[in-house]
Symmetry: C2
Subunit: 575 residues, 2 copies
């Protein structure tokens, strides 16, 4: 059976007069009495059909999403629509066939839909018929092909690593897979191909990459999926600098190719600087609102009110002293939502003419103010918010405040601005309150900086690692490190993470063994593909870039998974 001679998007003016066969889904029906206009849609586009009343009368039940096939002739359209490729023509139908009828769809299948998230997930196949979702999937395909070809041309080879792997208790929770043949034993699904890509480097593969599914058994979070896709890369014989240079080139290439945007050279700051200046490890550089921790360099004895405060922090909104009281109070109001108390904040408008006005006049003299402004190197024209508190907890809210302020000021509305940032020298270890011991900041295979190794015994929290994260517009889209290739150092790190010799052997014995055969220096990086896409498109919801996402509690409500198994299956697996 011939379903079509053309698709619904390819016919245009030059095809006028042609006889065609088309198949597509009914998008719209307009009944003008003697003539009926029907728009049909397929993957490629939308086209208008004209039916005489006679032709259609046996099919009076036609409705939206019916799949129909028509024979007809391309004719010139009277009222042209230049917004779509087929807008200058229409099809005069001579024969109609219903290929498959449709019941009434649960939501509107157009660019704007009335479907709520639950309904769109349940009928995902209908949601995919909508341009916004379909185009996201096409974009995802396009970016994946570009990435593969780019890396391949640059000497990387894609190697598939196994998905049924061994379970290691380090890191986040893994999903496990019971073995039927080896009763009582389990495989594990990888959180990343970390150790396998390291083994590939040890195996002499020079540059590896893989676009690969990874799995994390995490509790509900709207910006994460339990299965997600990683662009995973590893290189041999490199140090941090070579990785940063190459992958800056890589990200620039993607942005140029996909968005036609030429990115500026990436900013690069240390983790410690990021925390001081922005109060976060994922600063958004799009808006010039700096955070200054003036706790240590304000002469507290000169400010009675500051004496008992644990910290003092300034958020400096550059060139915004022209903001009105109303605007400032709406900012203060929004800040209060973060449970910052009124008494913990005051503001200063430092005008271009070097005069200033400020709130909480009772607490500070003008002289005080001049000192503060000097201390923080504020410039005329700045708008300052100053926070102080007895409670150290307030401090961790500061980054959120910075973003709240920027939202109030509408600084973020332009989604076409991208400000990538490398954060380097992240800590090797971090103190874990729950386990009362140090744990890896990234993972246990991250190389410490050579000059910091001596801190291992006394100040393990101060050791910096050869690691890096890539942040774009406040979102971490990738991260990696130089790995340990020295068996002794790897054993030392395992020991400091609290692993016994027996545990090291049983869980990482193969790695330690592999390091004995001339393992090369190597390092790599992994990017979250779902995140990268959502940042590229300036949209927050990664679900819109995944064909069949799970909901926030890890359910696929379309196919109903997870679900109960039959007793027989459980028995077979001995669970």
């Amino acid at each position: 059976m011939l379903y079509r001679t053309h698709n619904c998007g390819e016919l245009c003016k030059k095809d006028i007069g042609k006889k065609v066969v088309l198949s597509g889904w009914i998008q719209k029906i307009r009944n003008l009495g003697s003539l009926i206009f029907i728009d049909i849609r397929d993957y490629f586009g939308i086209i208008q059909l004209i039916f005489s009343k006679n032709l259609i009368q046996n099919h009076f039940n036609l409705g939206k999403e019916f799949l129909i096939k028509v024979n007809g002739k391309v004719v010139k359209k009277k009222s042209k629509n230049y917004n779509i490729s087929t807008g200058e023509i229409e099809i005069l139908v001579s024969k109609l066939e219903i290929l498959n009828p449709s019941i009434s769809p649960p939501f509107i299948i157009e660019d704007k839909t009335d479907g709520d998230e639950e309904s769109r997930m349940k009928y995902r196949y209908l949601d995919i018929r909508r341009n916004p979702i379909k185009n996201n999937l096409i974009l995802r395909h396009k970016i994946s092909i570009e990435i593969r070809n780019f890396l391949s041309k640059n000497g990387f080879i894609e190697i598939e690593t196994p998905l049924l792997i061994n379970h290691t208790p380090e890191g986040a929770r893994s999903f496990v897979v019971p073995s039927r043949i080896h009763s009582g034993k389990f495989y594990s699904l990888p959180q990343s191909p970390q150790l396998f890509k390291q083994l590939l480097m040890i195996g002499g593969i020079d540059k590896y990459f893989q676009i690969v599914k990874c799995f994390r058994d995490e509790d509900s979070r709207s910006d994460r999926q339990i299965e997600f896709t990683q662009i995973d890369c590893e290189m041999s014989f490199v140090e941090v600098n070579e990785i940063l240079i190459f992958f800056e080139y890589f990200i620039k290439y993607i942005f140029k190719k996909i968005k036609n945007i030429q990115l500026e050279p990436f900013t690069c700051i240390t983790y410690s600087d990021a925390m001081t200046k922005y109060g976060t490890e994922t600063p958004d550089l799009r808006f010039v609102i700096k955070i200054l921790d003036i706790n240590n360099f304000i002469p507290k004895n000169e400010f009675e009110y500051f004496q008992k405060k644990k910290f003092i922090i300034v958020i400096n909104v550059l060139k915004c002293s022209h903001y009105t009281y109303d605007q400032i109070y709406s900012i203060i109001k929004s800040i209060k939502k973060s449970k910052i108390e009124d008494k913990e904040i005051f503001w200063v408008k430092f005008f271009p003419d070097k005069t200033f006005i400020y709130s909480k006049k009772k607490l500070f003299t003008r002289e005080n103010l001049v000192k503060i402004i000097k201390n923080i190197n504020s410039n005329p024209g700045d708008l300052l918010f100053i926070f102080f508190s007895k409670k150290i907890q307030t401090k961790i809210k500061i980054n959120k405040l910075r973003i709240d302020i920027s939202n109030c000021l509408n600084v973020l509305k332009n989604y076409q601005i991208f400000k990538p940032l490398w954060i380097i020298d992240l800590p090797l270890l971090e103190w874990n309150e729950k386990f009362q011991r140090y744990r890896s900041f990234h993972h246990p295979f991250t190389s410490p900086k050579k000059e910091d190794i001596h801190l291992l015994e006394k100040f393990p929290g101060d050791i910096r690692s050869k690691s890096y994260d890539l942040i774009i517009n406040g979102v971490e889209i990738g991260g990696g490190s130089i790995r340990i290739h020295d068996k002794k150092i790897q054993n030392l790190i395992f020991k400091h993470l609290g692993l016994s010799i027996k545990e090291i052997k049983s869980e990482f014995g193969f790695l330690i063994k592999a390091l004995e055969y001339g393992a090369p220096p190597h390092g790599g990086i992994a990017f979250g593909l779902d995140r990268l896409l959502s940042v590229l498109e300036g949209k927050g919801n990664i679900k819109d870039f995944i064909a069949f996402p799970k909901n926030n509690s890890g359910k696929d409500i379309m196919v109903n998974s997870p679900s109960f198994l039959k007793e027989k299956k459980l028995k077979e697996l001995n669970i």
Copy 2:
């Protein structure tokens, strides 16, 4: 730290005089007293270094697989080796550094190794350093990139389907994944993305593909892996013919691009013809040895000896009547290994001059023989083996005999000959002895041929489906079908497979639901990437084309998976 200015494969005559830094693994050491020659190897190649005795004496412990870094100068080599790219030069070393020592490797790391399979699996990272395995991985990368670009250019988009899916009891055994958050419930790992790709078609995606991991919980078989990679494709608005044409073009493209081989047009025969002519659904067309079932058209009453036999089959080896007695008896000897008894076989040499000689003279007259030869349309020059038996079981060994014979005749030795074959019209259902009911031959979503649907009630085993397999050189490398897009037919098939209305709803409810919204006609195919590679290279062992394969019982003996979990983890999962 600078590890290298060049890799070990790129330097040549034109670089003579250059100062270089190289890093690589020691492949060979030759100590000539005052001078020491060391070959180092990396991903790109191998190069010879010359050390003075003085330079090396602090490193007297150097051995194979040590990773070293050298500074040196490119000089002309006296005894040139034109087999390798760097064979006309060598490096006069001025500085040596050991980057990482190596203990003695468990097997020889050269093209030919003394490592047995177990050892090569356990130290897979060392096996990958060997060219044969490394080159297979590079080939796999290359073919994957070619496939992706080809399909992409032909309008297919790659869409990732989920790996944590719902469990359905149909088909082979699936692996399951317990959910921690939804206690007692399980995800399942896909055996193929079958239903998701169908949902994509229903979602209006015109052409989909995916190179994707699939999982099957099968018992040990050396030619299968529990996780394997599929090239999965699906198209809308097509019938069988369009799929065969496009994917013949696809396979031809791959062979041309990867092997520079222009394949002949593919042969296409029905399943029923394949069984009659070759006694198998995966015939190897490289050798012209036909099987003829003459049971029905030999006049048994004229051959006393045949009267009580259940079947008579002829294997006709074309143009081989010149084979000597010795050769024929070595064939007969090999045939006996298949437990065919001596009394169940005789042979005929039908010479070019139309005379013939034959074994078992007591049983047949020359007149008898002339009749047989006439009946099977044998030509002068043929060598015939005729099998007859009371036991029907012997019949199923015939295909193996055909292959045994061809092996004896060395017909298969040329691995550069490829004979692709489409098998079409496979049965929709097959009788399952164990379950005493019909089951799907492919899967329950395969469309029956319209003209056969009326057989459903009385002769379900006779229904042909709109399906096809691609066989190359006797190996099934792909298969697929047109799917059912009509809700009524899908329900009917489910019913005939013994599913109750309740079961249909709970297991395939989402599919039936999706078919209600104007599902398009669609069909597709899936190729086994591992198999395709092993056929392309003419090698049987698919493990050689997988970076980290499991052994025949599904174990990864390198990382030791599957393995036991800690009690705490099991508790968390409620299993």
